[in-house]
């Protein structure tokens, strides 16, 4: 089901073209990069990312850390003088990276865990969601990095055994919206 990472498959081409179209009007003014609170940690700034995308460098774009360091704050979107939907483009690139660059999938572990989780529970059960995320990430250091935070939450009675009363509530909608393969 995965296209080669070198060429666009027929199925994926329109999706990528759509993201390109979103940023077609970019005039490289750099407002987005200057506005982005996370640009300091990105490998390409948002402005560079749009440039690469317009130059057809999909490999670079989809393989970049930048798309995962976007925290969806919409600052670039409201400031872009061309009115481009930049945050939406970031989300679309995350979806494309999942499809086209399987080797980067571990970066999307949290998002995938989230969808699987609500498909089962209907509402977010925070403790169970984190457990699922830890399992998906397969990184033994990850749960440890949450230990201190977890203990504070536990002491305040903020960690719960999952409430199963809404189990399955969203299953039909999730399954109707997403073909099985997309869910992994």
């Amino acid at each position: 089901m995965h296209a080669s990472t070198e060429t666009l498959s027929i199925r994926e081409a329109p999706a990528l073209a759509k993201v390109r179209e979103m940023v077609m009007g970019c005039m490289q003014c750099g407002t987005c990069s200057a506005s982005c609170p996370n640009a300091f940690a990105m490998d390409y700034t948002p402005r560079q990312l749009w440039r690469l995308l317009l130059l057809g460098q999909e490999q670079e774009v989809l393989g970049s850390k930048t798309i995962y360091l976007c925290s969806s704050c919409y600052t670039c979107t409201v400031r872009c003088p061309r009115g481009l939907p930049l945050t939406e483009a970031m989300h679309a690139l995350k979806r494309l990276a999942w499809e086209r660059l399987p080797q980067t999938r571990s970066r999307a572990a949290f998002y995938q865990a989230f969808v699987e989780h609500i498909r089962i529970y209907g509402r977010v059960q925070e403790s169970a969601l984190m457990a699922r995320y830890f399992a998906k990430s397969r990184d033994p250091r990850l749960p440890l990095s949450f230990t201190a935070a977890g203990l504070r939450l536990l002491r305040k009675g903020k960690l719960h055994v999952p409430d199963a009363s809404h189990k399955g509530m969203l299953k039909r909608v999730v399954d109707a919206a997403m073909p099985k393969e997309g869910r992994t």
Binding site: R95, A108, G122, E126, A149, H166, V173
Partner: protein
């Protein structure tokens, strides 16, 4: 005034005090909240990174239920991420017939239809525009003029849709706080992103966002926010960062101003509130008494 209430998942779990204080304050202000039956997750920020159709459908499902079960009244969503997801459906679907159709096709598995008739409102919007400052101020019982508060609005309630406040220089939260009689901490961080979604995936980067906000808030007695993600992020890592400041939900502070005890407003359920701060919540005690203390519990 009646509202179809959408608490969202966080308000049922880690942010129960936000749910409770919202209900207390709204009741006092004659706002009647009716639960949307069988509401489900709105998709948060995560689902859009997996499937846009699913994200829109999850949010639209809740609006479709509200339209059917509680017709003719606005939806009230206190959580900023829920608000944005529900609002996006209201903003985007009616102007894109194809998208509307595909979402409704998905919803048809539950015999639901989203028609676009319902309006989605955030708590700040309702307080400012439906209740109004005059009535907000009329209930104030306690003198909080010794308290300086940093108003933290966050990002998703303001952006990308400009609905009731400036997306970059928000005023409404500060205005409500002033109406409660507190001083407003002057800062430029009210709409700066707290990095919420990064704290699961990219801890170090998210922590920088939290640090910059907590640093800018130093000098205030507390931060007040309207989003469960912001509140948790800003409190949970204070120890790691060595920066202490209580972070309250707006309706918790309103309840205090309205004369309820800090116990009743469940301030002890927040993670970051030293007992000295709680003790100070009686009239006449100076703000300095609980400022810059180490963790009090």
């Amino acid at each position: 005034m009646k509202y179809a209430y959408f608490p969202g998942c966080s308000l049922m779990e880690s942010a129960k005090e936000y749910d409770f204080s919202t209900k207390v304050v709204m009741e006092l202000l004659d706002g009647k909240l009716r639960d949307i039956p069988d509401w489900g997750c709105c998709g948060a920020t995560a689902v859009e990174s997996v499937s846009r159709e699913l994200a829109l459908s999850l949010a639209a499902r809740n609006l479709a239920i509200a339209e059917k079960a509680l017709p003719g009244i606005d939806v009230l969503a206190p959580c900023s991420a829920c608000y944005l997801n529900l609002r996006r459906v209201q903003e985007e679907l009616p102007k894109d017939r194809e998208l509307m159709q595909s979402v409704n096709k998905i919803l048809s598995v539950e015999d639901l239809v989203y028609s676009g008739s319902v309006s989605v409102r955030h708590l700040l919007d309702v307080l400012e525009n439906d209740i109004g400052y005059e009535r907000l101020g009329a209930h104030v019982q306690r003198d909080l003029s010794n308290l300086t508060v940093a108003p933290y609005t966050g990002c998703q309630v303001l952006r990308p849709y400009r609905v009731f406040d400036d997306p970059e220089r928000p005023q409404v939260l500060a205005k409500i706080l002033k109406t409660m009689g507190v001083n407003v901490h002057p800062w430029g961080h009210s709409s700066r992103c707290c990095g919420a979604s990064l704290l699961a995936n990219h801890r170090a980067v998210g922590l920088e966002a939290v640090r910059s906000i907590l640093e800018a808030a130093q000098g205030a007695d507390c931060i007040v926010t309207v989003c469960p993600m912001c509140q948790m992020n800003l409190e949970l890592y204070q120890g790691t960062l060595g920066l202490r400041i209580p972070v309250l939900y707006l309706p918790q502070l309103m309840g205090i101003a309205y004369g309820f005890s800090s116990d009743f407003m469940r301030l002890d359920e927040n993670l970051s509130i030293p007992s000295t701060f709680l003790e100070s919540m009686t009239p006449g005690i100076h703000a300095e008494n609980f400022n810059n203390r180490p963790e009090g519990r």
